[in-house]
């Protein structure tokens, strides 16, 4: 008897083993790294979006266009200066200024109205910016040269170091934002405004300027991700659309206005898509993240990565 159990057991082990060894582990490892890299970029885009939403109740439809604008400014400055890092910094600062100007011109008059009107206004902004980019830069995609082209061997691939650097830089920027919100004086102003707008105002915090600053920070983060991501895909006037949709999914899955949740959800969604694209085409892999969204809405409409509301 024991021998038959052991043969049965060993046959199970063998089946599992043959199944596991049948899986393309090298592909899975590569896709894990890819997923984390895209996830970090996405987290950078989504954390700007969720910051703006959490503090101002503004769903920023123009976020993808700020991302796109950052990438284009990166292209222009890179061509002029020849230095990637200068391009990154200039793009971030310029788009932050543009964001501040847009906030003052269009969102400030809408304070106190239905939050839905801010969707309309930012949708209008996104149309204008996108068509401006089409008109000014033309329909042909531009290319940003990566700052260095080193590669390392990863299974059968030569994997570019630059991709890992993107993930690292995104993590540093998000970490910096977190530290700023936690310890910086202005960060404390921002958190105070989130918690209670009226009380913050009563304490002498200039709430309208906090809003402008938050919008500028969010815009700058979108621009940073645009420049960083530029070398991986072409820079075109429609590049923002995909990203803003993905960022919306992330923000809903992670729980609206929740920074940590958005970051977790960004990596989660990107990994899901990366694994799915092993089996289907990348265009169809997007559907996996839609399914994740629908399941989230069904079972945890407040978001996957937030504590259960009482």
């Amino acid at each position: 008897m024991p021998s038959s159990i052991s043969t049965w057991g060993s046959s199970v082990v063998e089946t599992v083993w043959s199944f596991l060894s049948g899986l393309p582990w090298d592909v899975i490892a590569i896709q894990t790294i890819n997923g984390i890299v895209t996830g970090m970029i996405l987290a950078l885009v989504a954390s700007g979006l969720t910051l703006i939403f959490g503090i101002m109740d503004v769903v920023n439809f123009a976020h993808g266009e700020l991302f796109m604008l950052g990438a284009y400014i990166g292209v222009v400055v890179l061509a002029a200066s020849g230095n990637f890092w200068v391009a990154l910094v200039v793009a971030v600062l310029t788009v932050a200024l543009i964001g501040a100007a847009l906030q003052i011109a269009t969102l400030r008059p809408l304070v106190g109205r239905d939050p839905l009107t801010t969707i309309l206004a930012t949708f209008g902004i996104s149309l204008v910016l996108q068509n401006y980019a089409l008109w000014h830069f033309g329909p042909v995609a531009r290319k940003i040269q990566e700052p260095f082209t080193g590669q390392f061997a990863l299974f059968y691939l030569q994997y570019p170091w630059y991709r890992l650097l993107i993930a690292l830089l995104s993590a540093i920027i998000i970490g910096g934002l977190w530290a700023f919100l936690k310890y910086g004086t202005y960060g404390i102003w921002i958190r105070a405004t989130t918690q209670d707008r009226v009380m913050a105002q009563a304490m002498g915090i200039p709430v309208p300027w906090v809003h402008t600053m938050v919008f500028a920070i969010g815009a700058g983060m979108a621009a940073a991700s645009g420049v960083l991501f530029g070398p991986l895909v072409g820079v075109s006037h429609t590049m923002g659309l995909d990203w803003v949709l993905k960022a919306f999914i992330v923000v809903v899955v992670g729980g609206m206005g929740n920074l940590g949740g958005s970051i977790a959800a960004a990596i989660f969604i990107s990994l899901l898509e990366a694994y799915a694209s092993i089996f289907v085409s990348p265009a169809q892999a997007v559907i996996v993240s839609f399914v994740a969204l629908i399941l989230t809405l069904l079972f945890r409409p407040t978001g996957l990565f937030v504590p259960t509301p009482k």
Partner: protein, 322 residues
Amino acid sequence: MMQTSKRHAAFYWIGFSVVMALLVAAPLVLPEFWRRFLTEVLIWGLLAMSSDLLIGYVGMVSFGHSVFFGLGAYGVAAALLTVRPPNLWLAVLYGLAFSAAAGLFVAYFSTRLRDIYFAITTLIFSQIFYVVVFTWTDVTGGENGLTFSRPQLGIPGVYTQPFTTETLHWFVLAMVAGSYLVLRRITQSPFGMVLQSIRENEARTRAIGYPVGRYKIVAVMLSGVFAGLAGVLYAIQKQFADPTLLYFLTSGEVVIFNVMGGIGTLVGPIVGAGFFLGMREAFGRLLGEQFPYLIPVGVIFILMVIFLPQGLLGFARRWLNR
């Protein structure tokens, strides 16, 4: 009281008849280009009007109407490409069935959320359907879409004639006017009153005992069916269906029509569609075809959101809904 409401009804129907008479007579006097333009305005207006049922009366901003619109058009394509001989009414039926099914699906999930969350969810649904239609090349034709020829107008086997620009206009006008009257009746019915009370105070409506969730699902489905009808008419006019109809920018334009024309008026969105498409023509001629008309139109839209949130027909809102 009785006197004023009677007088209001008289004025209202006189106004309605005058506008209808103008629209009926329009193709007889307008040149070919403007005839088509007017038909197109009516079709986009119907789509915007269907979305107004949600925006203006239930207070839910949908960015998913492109789904119903696009699937209505694909329904026409399905009927005209698979069933022989091609039949106009079957095409209409297919289109409505497609959009109603999509409406049920979208409504079931998205009505669990409110306000901004509803808007974002419907936006993502439009992207879901877009990706499915775009990648399912064998059935939907993928990026190229499907082309088909226009069916004949009339009752098959009894009397038929091919569509001309005029008869197509009248056909579209009849559908749009019929939809307007039905939608107006719906908003004034007890059902419509419940929808408006959800807009005013959802918690209280629920407390009174109305199943708010079910009302919202029905509202989204109804709105989706009328949007599907617009898609059907669009497909019949343009003789093709392609994935861009389902793209969320189409939904965004529908919301723009609503805001420009005035939400909660039903006719406002048609005016808004006319205003938008008119501006597209005007800027196209003024600034050249190369210049993207959406830059000036987008700026005007933002200004209207800030300074004229009631839209062009906002001043007549109470009068139109009496």
